[in-house]
């Protein structure tokens, strides 16, 4: 019961990711694309947590923590490149 509820929520999130990818495809400048990437990061972390809860596996949530910590590094790396500083 609860499992299919969480899975349905993650299907909805996947559809949100499809919409956010339109911004990554269209984005006229590179910062627009980075904004899309950032949004997709958060959505994917939440989708992972929901699917872990749906399949009743508590150990799956570690993957979400890894993503939440590491996606930040990618974002500031690209931001540093864009503002022209030495990395």
């Amino acid at each position: 019961m609860m499992g299919s509820l969480f899975l349905g929520a993650s299907v909805f999130l996947v559809i949100c990711i499809v919409l956010a990818m339109i911004r990554v495809i269209k984005g006229p400048t590179v910062p627009d694309r980075v904004v899309g990437l950032d949004t997709i990061n958060t959505l994917v972390v939440v989708a992972m947590i929901l699917c872990g809860a749906a399949s009743r596996e508590s150990i799956y949530i570690d993957v979400a923590i890894v993503y939440a910590l590491l996606s930040f590094i990618t974002t500031i790396l690209i931001a540093r490149y864009l503002e022209g500083g030495e990395i």
Partner: protein
């Protein structure tokens, strides 16, 4: 046919990667193409090992009522993919360092131009 979409996606990734390797002229783009090809192979291997209504082959806090051999995905393809990913990043780094060095020598990243300049 509609259920076989992951297989088709794996093949499509491989074909896209192959296209980038064969038809693009920028060396960094070629390296990216090889990376995409390798992602396709990884996806194919993982898809081969997937079982419907199964969980990962890890016994820690397994949900109750899992039948032991049938209720788990196959572990061997996952292990192979694991080694493949680390090899992939190492090889990508090697290719990119060669590309950077070539740019330093010839001042261009175009593969045909480099071939012409070398002669």
């Amino acid at each position: 046919m509609i259920h076989n979409v992951p297989y088709l996606a794996a093949v499509a990734l491989a074909i896209i990667g192959l296209y980038a390797v064969l038809f693009k002229r920028n060396l960094i783009k070629i390296a990216i193409g090889i990376s995409i090809l390798e992602s396709g192979v990884n996806l194919f291997l993982i898809t081969l090992g997937y079982r419907e209504n199964a969980v990962a082959p890890i016994y820690t806090n397994l949900p109750e009522g899992t039948s032991i051999p049938e209720g788990m995905t196959l572990p061997v393809p996952q292990a192979l993919t694991l080694t493949s990913i680390v090899i992939g990043v190492a090889v990508l780094a090697l290719m990119l360092s060669f590309a950077v060095k070539i740019y330093q020598h010839y001042g261009t990243l175009d593969s045909r131009e480099i071939r012409r300049l070398r002669e």
